[in-house]
């Protein structure tokens, strides 16, 4: 009797598990399987990735862009999350609102808007030239700068909220206490505040890095050919070339890189810190 009573909450998890199975695990599994089966069984898709330098180069690009975007996003998010965690309730409400506003518009619309803003004769370049800061338009788009500007702004909330969540649990008297004990603000931050905010920082970094690896709208709209990312490549392979096998192999490699990096992070700081 008691076992049945105890097991019923688990039954409530079943619908979600079913959705995940049908809409996520099965199709991803099938796509990954095609890497080994299409056009014919074997490892020829992986050999292709290995033989054509462009594929490896794009994989490398992808990891590199994600690796640059992550610290930039963390640095920008840190003070915002700090102000939200330790500011007065008004500041907190205002900042939460501002951080969430971008979600009200679709990623596509925001990216096109960024194109307009950053283009050669766009408002930003015009302004900078009019006030005499620059003589010729800055190349802000169709390059790494464009991709980073676009990616960082969409990823900020994913860092700000986990950071805020771990910062608001930090007792605000710890920093003053460290100061009275002879720690300069910088040392107090490095020894006391930063270690205590590490769980949020790690969660945010993981979310940003992994999301970034799979981006394709932003590099497609704001990047140049040199900023082509794996996501675009997979999209091209399926949408234009119909080669599910190569797409599957690319997805497989992307998944393997993600898993390897997560494993490394787990080794370095412990997954507990990330999950907490």
């Amino acid at each position: 009797m008691s076992t049945r009573r105890e097991s019923w909450p688990w039954l409530l998890l079943l619908p979600a598990a079913l959705v995940m199975l049908v809409a996520f695990a099965l199709p991803v599994g099938m796509l990954l399987a095609r890497a080994f089966t299409q056009p014919e069984p074997g490892l020829q898709n992986f050999l292709l990735l290995w033989e054509r330098p462009v594929y490896l180069q794009i994989l490398g690009n992808t990891v590199m862009i994600a690796a640059v975007a992550t610290p930039v996003t963390l640095l920008l998010a840190y003070p915002v999350a700090h102000a939200m965690a330790h500011g007065n309730p008004r500041t907190r409400r205002l900042l939460t609102f501002l951080v969430l506003v971008p979600f009200w518009t679709s990623l596509l619309v925001r990216s096109f808007a960024t194109v307009i803003l950053l283009q050669r004769r766009g408002p930003l370049n015009t302004l900078l030239m009019n006030i005499g800061l620059i003589d010729a338009p800055l190349p802000l788009i169709y390059n790494l700068t464009g991709v980073l500007l676009g990616a960082v702004q969409t990823l900020l909330p994913f860092v700000i909220f986990p950071l805020y969540n771990s910062m608001r649990r930090i007792d605000p008297t710890l920093m003053p206490a460290a100061l009275t004990m002879g720690a300069s603000p910088a040392r107090a931050f490095l020894r006391v505040y930063l270690p205590l905010s590490l769980p949020g920082l790690m969660t945010g970094a993981t979310l940003v890095f992994i999301s970034m690896l799979g981006y394709f709208v932003i590099p497609a709209l704001l990047g140049g050919p040199r900023e082509t990312m794996v996501g675009q490549l997979i999209q091209d392979q399926i949408g234009q070339l119909g080669s599910w096998g190569v797409a599957g192999a690319l997805s497989f490699v992307l998944l393997a890189i993600t898993a390897a990096l997560l494993g490394l992070l787990h080794r370095l700081v412990g997954l507990k810190a990330v999950a907490r």
């Binding site: 003053p176 100061l179 009275t180 720690a183």
Partner: protein, 363 residues
């Protein structure tokens, strides 16, 4: 151990702090002697904590001077002032063990490792936690955490130890135990201490001197008995200990034996007059200074009153009395004396007092 020959360890001169138009601290001046235990006592919002924070350097005064160990420190950040501070909620670093917490200020000062280790061990022994060094703060009780905070604030022997309601988060029994412990540490370590509390009995128990704060100003500064026996203002009389207040009319002139009309009866008043004769005044008398007598053994004096209630306090009894004007007074007597007067609720009584125990304040 107060050492007057060394001069003050801390001096505040005309400290002011405004928040907008509100004066949080309004012209506070005082001297704290070497080895003295000085307490800031006052209700919340009276300016006592703000003043402490300015001594720590965590807040900046708008004007005035702070002199610590002979040097002006107004422009020095907290980490360059030679202070230790204990916070109400301990402020222990949760990611460091007890030992690492206590070692932190030594590390910031560049104390050599071996010496620091030895000092940490001594500090933990001093607060009675010699075997708790490897625990994390969250594995300790509130009282133990505050002991660690004390060890951490004292381990580097700062010139001045600041404590901001350090016992406010603890329950009563623990609080009383730690009061004695802090007193012992103060005595043994010969520290100069600036202590903040809103608990008047804590202030009376622990302090060499008390500064009573209200409305951003020091109302009175003196020894516990100064404040209790000779309060300078009506606020101090009401805030430090329990007091009966009654409207009275002062008779006579300055320099004469003084009397005041209380409920129409001329009664003696302390020569330490704080209100002008002929003006409306308020008389303050402590409950334990009231004398009760039955009207039968009438000696011709005393304010008539009715005994409304008799409350059993174990070691003492509290008499709740109603005066003709309708005010309720409280008188407290030790058990033996209280039983001797043999009064019961409903009885008529007469109240009297020794003149030195009735202070008149302006109404």
């Amino acid at each position: 151990m107060i050492s007057p020959e060394l001069g003050p360890i801390l001096e505040l001169r005309g400290i002011r702090k405004h928040y907008g138009r509100h004066a949080a601290v309004d012209d506070v001046s005082l001297k704290l002697r070497h080895g003295e235990f000085l307490t800031f006592l006052g209700p919340s919002g009276s300016g006592k904590t703000t003043t402490l924070m300015m001594v720590a350097g965590l807040q900046q005064p708008d004007s005035g001077q702070i002199i610590l160990a002979g040097k002006p420190v107004d422009r020095l950040p907290p980490y360059k002032r030679d202070i230790g501070m204990v916070f109400q909620h301990y402020a222990l670093f949760p990611h460091m063990t007890v030992r690492r917490n206590v070692a932190f200020p030594l590390e910031m000062r560049g104390t050599p490792r071996a010496e620091a280790e030895r000092m940490v061990t001594a500090a933990l022994a001093m607060v009675g936690l010699p075997d708790h060094g490897d625990r994390l703060p969250r594995q300790l009780s509130g009282g133990q955490q505050q002991r660690v905070a004390l060890a951490r604030a004292m381990v580097y022997r700062p010139a001045l130890l600041l404590m901001d309601e350090p016992l406010g988060a603890l329950d009563k029994a623990l609080r009383e135990g730690l009061q004695l412990e802090i007193k012992r540490l103060h005595r043994e370590q010969r520290m100069s201490v600036l202590y903040v509390t809103h608990d008047q009995s804590e202030a009376l128990t622990m302090s060499d001197r008390i500064a009573v704060f209200d409305g951003g100003r020091i109302q009175q500064i003196g020894t516990p008995s100064d404040l209790y026996e000779r309060p300078a203002t009506r606020f101090v009389a009401g805030f430090v200990g329990e007091t009966n207040f009654v409207p009275a009319e002062l008779l006579g002139r300055e320099g004469e034996a003084r009397r005041a009309l209380v409920a129409g009866v001329p009664m003696p008043v302390s020569a330490r007059f704080l209100a002008a004769p002929g003006t409306p005044a308020v008389l303050a008398i402590r409950p334990e200074r009231l004398r009760l007598s039955a009207p039968a053994d009438d000696d011709g004096g005393g304010v008539p009153a009715e005994l409304v209630d008799l409350i059993y306090l174990g070691n003492a009894r509290r008499f709740v009395l109603r005066l003709p004007g309708g005010q309720e007074w409280s008188a407290v007597m030790q058990a033996e004396a209280a039983e001797a007067v043999m009064l019961r609720p409903g009885d008529a009584v007469r109240l009297s007092w020794n003149e030195v125990h009735a202070t008149a304040f302006p109404a």
